[in-house]
Symmetry: C3
Subunit: 396 residues, 3 copies
């Protein structure tokens, strides 16, 4: 395990421009910036594990804007903010006047007078989540420039239609932890594959986030799905370019078996085809219940043709020494547990259950690191100050 000083010294070696920049897509960040995010997360975890306070804010608000349901991301965001000293205020669009036609521009400013960070989840509408976050960002720039806001609140993408950076980065941190270092991921094969689920409409952001990020670190990434279950093509193109640049590999296959073969890591997860998500957006906007129901039926019928895309013990035997690490963003559709037939066999899931919990456990620190880097130019310096201050998190 690295010492605290090793972590902060490693941060000081990096060139990064995270300060005052929103964290929306991992591919907008340099390799150094991604590394710094991991290192700051590690440093914050180190301090908390040693009962040292990481409260850098004496007061300040963090706004959470969840435009879709969430348990784990909601609690991860709350945990991250609390860890740094920010108080979360939910912008519940049901309760608020936003539903009554306020413009994004105005609301973004109205909630930000004493706000340091805004976390947004907006993954339901293809083509809109990321755009919305940029709109909020522009509004905040405008307000800050004109003296409306005494600070420019940072934005953290808690899942959009394109990427899910807090998930993908937590997954990366888990892998670095599991394999003893980011450098050890080079050459490891990861299979990001579609899996059957008796539900539909799951966002594309997790698989996109995974192929967009893991290709940055020299990994061999296989994306597998049944014909027709495409992702956004720009992201797929980008994954190819990333792999080429990092000395890794990237390919798309239409067979789960092929992707699993010799894989070090498997990530079997359901998603809806891009074309379905495209057709779904206007239906959602129009509250077209009948149209949504029809689309769901059609999609479920199509899904049902691919029930063999399940992460079974048999398929696991295809992986490297039959021992690939199973990953999932949770909750998984576990056959015979949470559904009749699903993404993963019960025995496989159960064997890796604790690992998937640990995987999820990195998310609060990743989010805290994103906030930290957004607010502090000299991240290493502030971390050292926290360590020297040595305030106890719990008295005793």
């Amino acid at each position: 395990m690295k010492s605290f000083n090793q972590i902060t010294e490693a941060i000081q070696q990096l060139k990064s421009n995270l300060h005052q920049n929103d964290f929306l897509l991992t591919w907008e960040k340099t390799e150094d910036e991604l590394k710094q995010t991991l290192l700051v997360a590690e440093a914050l975890k180190f301090l908390r594990d040693h009962n040292i306070s990481t409260k850098v804010f004496d007061s300040g608000l963090a706004i959470s804007n969840f435009r879709d349901n969430s348990t784990r991301t909601r609690f991860s965001f709350a945990s991250a903010c609390n860890l740094l000293g920010l108080e979360v205020q939910d912008l519940d669009e049901g309760k608020s006047q936003i539903a009554h036609g306020e413009t994004v521009r105005e609301t973004a400013n109205m909630i930000s007078f004493l706000t340091d960070i805004i976390g947004i989840r907006d993954d339901m509408f293809l083509g809109e989540g990321h755009t919305y976050m940029k709109e909020v960002g522009d509004a905040l720039d405008d307000g800050f420039k004109h003296g409306v806001l005494p600070q420019r609140p940072g934005i953290v993408n808690l899942q959009c239609d394109i990427d899910h950076p807090t998930q993908a980065m937590a997954d990366l941190m888990h892998l670095a932890d599991y394999y003893g270092g980011l450098e050890n991921l080079k050459g490891k094969k990861i299979a990001m594959t579609w899996a059957y689920s008796p539900s539909y409409g799951k966002p594309l952001s997790v698989p996109q986030g995974i192929i967009g990020l893991m290709t940055r670190f020299g990994m061999e990434v296989d994306l597998a799905y049944p014909e027709g279950y495409n992702l956004i093509s720009d992201v797929v193109d980008l994954a190819g370019k990333n792999a080429a640049a990092s000395g890794g590999k990237f390919r798309v296959v239409n067979s789960m078996d092929e992707a699993f073969r010799d894989a070090d890591i498997v990530y079997p997860k359901s998603w809806a085809p891009f074309s379905v998500m495209q057709r779904r957006t206007p239906l959602l906007h129009n509250n077209d219940t009948a149209g949504l129901k029809a689309l769901e039926q059609e999609c479920l019928a199509n899904n049902a043709r691919f029930k063999d895309w399940e992460c079974t013990e048999e398929k696991m035997k295809l992986t490297k020494e039959g021992k690939a690490l199973y990953m999932h963003c949770l909750p998984a559709d576990i056959s015979g547990v949470s559904c009749k037939e699903g993404e993963v066999a019960e025995s496989v899931f159960e064997r890796y259950r604790i690992e998937t919990y640990k995987e999820a456990g990195f998310k609060p620190y990743i989010i805290a690191a994103m906030i930290f880097n957004n607010k502090f130019k000299d991240a290493a310096g502030v971390l050292n100050k926290l360590n020297e201050r040595g305030l106890k998190r719990i008295l005793g």
Copy 2:
């Protein structure tokens, strides 16, 4: 800009009795008390702008009780409480057992054992909001007197049926800031005028709050509305008396043009006629959907007769050098933006948009000042302590 010492010295010159007194109506407060509220708000803003912690509470709850929807006031209250170190707990009457017939007296005590402040918004029911706040206050007095409560939580009116003191005081702070001092408002003409909106039932508390407060500082206040769109007559009478006492002027006119003529400041905003609000209260109580719908139709039809009550470029030309400051509590009904025809033309709003945002930005500090003055007898002394303590709000 005043130095911090100038602010606290100015506070020390004032005679005020804000300590342990609820802030329900501006006209229950002396001129010195209103000034102290502005000065404390200024001091808190100064400290935060200089990254100095204003946390006076190490722990303690602030209860928010919103009996009507709200975004900006909700976030302003949350910001103010957080700035001082109080944690907001929402008293959501849907979730709680209050809906099941508990008396105000009991609930007020049950939520207040460790509570320092209660913010209430109750503006829907004419004749009831202010009454409810006083009832809560009486219950808290009773609980404190009998040793149930170790402290008497203060109450801040976050909008009632009569006044909207946090809005009006933030507006006043904005004007003092804009014109370089409260003393410079003397003789300035402000037009508080009704404006057309394709909605109905907007509370009377903003225009009442404005005429009740701005007449205290020697301003020339014109209240303008189409015949029938009266406010509560007691408040109108009071505005007249205020003006007489402060060396200002107050008159009621039935023409937007007349009010705009030579105005330094215009505040065009829709509200429902007093008589409509009176008829609406029993309908709301009885959940009389049909009755409410009928009243809405009648009221909208009546509104439609006054579509020319819009703050257009043409009307703005009537004002002092055509350059009056436009004010609004937001959100405004902007013609061609948030509605087809509304309170204000797009180009006028857009020119003053940033100013209206700044106007709103004073509210968190005004609310914080109201809380501060309620809890500390020696406000200037405590502010000086904060400055001397010099804790950073953000580490770095």
Copy 3:
């Protein structure tokens, strides 16, 4: 009144195993442990009353999981957590993905990465609330053991189907305060009796909590109810054994008058018969609205046979010198006030109203003490540190 040192010295005399143990049922705790809970509550109250900060957590989350409506327990929990420095996050099962079939095991871990305490209210379903809390506890043990959680969050039962320990302990603290010491309760007669209410389905946990706890301290406990309104028989058996062990008395009678005769304390409160609660659980699970309605009608009709089970002035005359202390967990069904005919006559309630408020006021401290003892092995030592640290709760 005890000095602070007397309190912490008394704690040091006790043998207790509260550290890292959930507080689910008072009868799982030893007499020393119950005493320590009262003493720590007293110490925390002492410190706050002397404006000394009791913040032992610099950061950390407290999760509240309310599976039934609540005002007073919700605010008591929020107050307790805030008093110690924990931030409450509500696990609202409507908003979260829990409703979508996640297992308890997974969710318990997902919300707990940076969580110090979890408060759960689950009192609707007979046979399930307590079981659910143990399930959550097992999941947390599992996560902590396997390194998923850096700490094992403690659980506080905020009311289950069997016991309501925060209520019963607050009631005990009130009695100890009222009679000048726990030792003075020996030999006092308390009548825990059913009372008429025009509602049905009220949980059994309050009467069960009272007979399960008050029999521990040598009190003479009468449980009274109309035939058929039985409690869970295991708890009744336990109350008998407790009384035998503590030198007290316990009996069940079917007459309110008999229970009131010579009572020092009366606690008249409605509840639903055990058999009704049993029949209700599957109806609730099946959302069987018609079945629930029919059961309600049947139960209300049965209740109506016992309208004379009301705590009237006449009945109060039967008590010791006619001056028994009236207790209630609130809100009470007050005849002529909150309902036509109810649990208690208005004049009786009004005479003891302030006492019932004080009774409720102990709950935040009791909950804080339960959290405190769960997290700190050397409770007395940490309390002394807080006193020596001497941070002010409110500056000034």
